[in-house]
Subunit: 343 residues, 2 copies
Amino acid sequence: MRKPTMADVARHAGVSLKTVSRVVNQEPHVRASLQQRVHDSINVLGFRRNEAAARLARGATMLTLGLVMENISNEFYARLAAAVEAAAAGHEALVVFGSYEERPDKERMLIESMHARGVDALIVVPSPADHGWLAEHGGLRTVFVDRVPRGLDRADVVMLDDERGGRAATEHLLARGHRRVALVSDDEGLSSVHDRAVGYRAALREAGVAVDEGLVVRGVFEPGRVSYEVGRLLGLPDPPTAFFATNNRAAIGVLRALRERPERPAYVGFDDFALADVFSPGVTVVRYDIGRLARAAVELLLSPVREPRRVRVPVEIVARGSGELPPPWPSGQTSLKSPHVGA
Amino acid sequence: MRKPTMADVARHAGVSLKTVSRVVNQEPHVRASLQQRVHDSINVLGFRRNEAAARLARGATMLTLGLVMENISNEFYARLAAAVEAAAAGHEALVVFGSYEERPDKERMLIESMHARGVDALIVVPSPADHGWLAEHGGLRTVFVDRVPRGLDRADVVMLDDERGGRAATEHLLARGHRRVALVSDDEGLSSVHDRAVGYRAALREAGVAVDEGLVVRGVFEPGRVSYEVGRLLGLPDPPTAFFATNNRAAIGVLRALRERPERPAYVGFDDFALADVFSPGVTVVRYDIGRLARAAVELLLSPVREPRRVRVPVEIVARGSGELPPPWPSGQTSLKSPHVGA
């Protein structure tokens, strides 16, 4: 049983929707006989106007936030969109989304189009391009999420604690005895990806393990490409025994690659994903509360403008099996698989 | 190396963005000295205006389509959104999305808000509520996707071939010898879900298998709830040996339930999902080309208004293992696992 709408009332009473709206909103100059018919229908149908609907009926549109994202088909963005929507609903705001598919020119067109269409404020996951042009826009309040935009001095940004996450993932693998830990990473021009790699390097350095640049793969974000790189690294004379995948697509690429391979390296991903817990072993990830990220962004957006703020959302390791696999040889020894054993 | 923007040209030439825009669009009344400075900067920076950017600069906003969906955190909608965006890009149109989270009142507010903000046309995945009120709106061209809206006589709809898909999934299981095939289904108030169930019943009937209403579960769409129902059915005295899950969430619920159970029933899902091929056994699904669905919707939307049209996108079975498992006993016998064996 759905709730009756004003359109139902109008049909039932045989009047226009406009008339129902005028009666419901107690506007003047409606004939008493019409008012009576509408009220009768409201009583019969059990119509209850809610405040939001009433505001719409009065012609005041809802507060609408625009969310501009990189690529909606990536699960991270779908989850972010749902979380922003839930956070906005707490402020009786609607959210419209746009996805620029990793094309900075399209990002700009989306923002311009949302601006032109009267979106009230913007949440943007910025592309790696310069965003200086946004400063010249003025007026449209914007909060950035996940990454620091380039070329803007005064930006509110809500980020994950990326460096700490990269460090924690790497330390997690080091603690299991791994010394050859590969990094599989997206575009390091993104501050998030960059900071995760900084954490990786710091953890290795502090453990006295030299960073082997031959184990660092940058700029791959398509799972098929990641799988290729994982296979290539595992085929090295002295292969990695563990992987840190700096986002969900990279982790899925590792997962796919290992289906085809005999090796069982450990790996840790950054970003949780649906079904990560269903595999054997389950996928160990760096996780965070995306609701907290979204709520922080919406609250910054709706709060008075002050000095630019940077908010960091904490992250944690969720151990599910893939990150707890030991290396295939005691630590300190060289690889059993390597043709250079004993050399 | 990102491409230079009009903002870069303005900075380089020391003029306003407006001036650059006027020069680029060959508007009159710009001083010759300013024109020269802007042209010099354009040459130095290698700025190339594209047609879309030029239109924006002329103040004409891009054609913008609104896509209104049930729940963006469901993978089906994320894939649909990406596909609509790709289809719209072929017509130089932008897409903004809204998600109503299964709340018809919010669906209406989203549509009203998009309308009020000048979105040019709408693609809507309708909730099960009555959409008669949309007819009274007039003017905002709308195409429905995936489901037939209620209460609208004249609606353009692009759907999957749901009945055929439900039939094919069930026939696939019957062909492996299954006779006790359970249906795990979403809200049958949705035409898509309804039609898939019609196909299921038709296939059983044609195979001479009576529909056992005790094996039909309706109105579940949350994977946890699906898992509970799967466990309940498998605990019946005469349990199902196979499942047809009428959408991706239901299939994931079956997958999760079977991790905790000793039985190995066959199952077929409707909707492909990421990683469906990575499990052992892989998940057999009814699949379709979501790009074709999206392109059909965008083309209907941008074509001249004629008689209402219904387009059906074909579906196919993708066999990956889960749908090819045999029943645990020869067909015709009762379950080996049943406590009533031989009774």
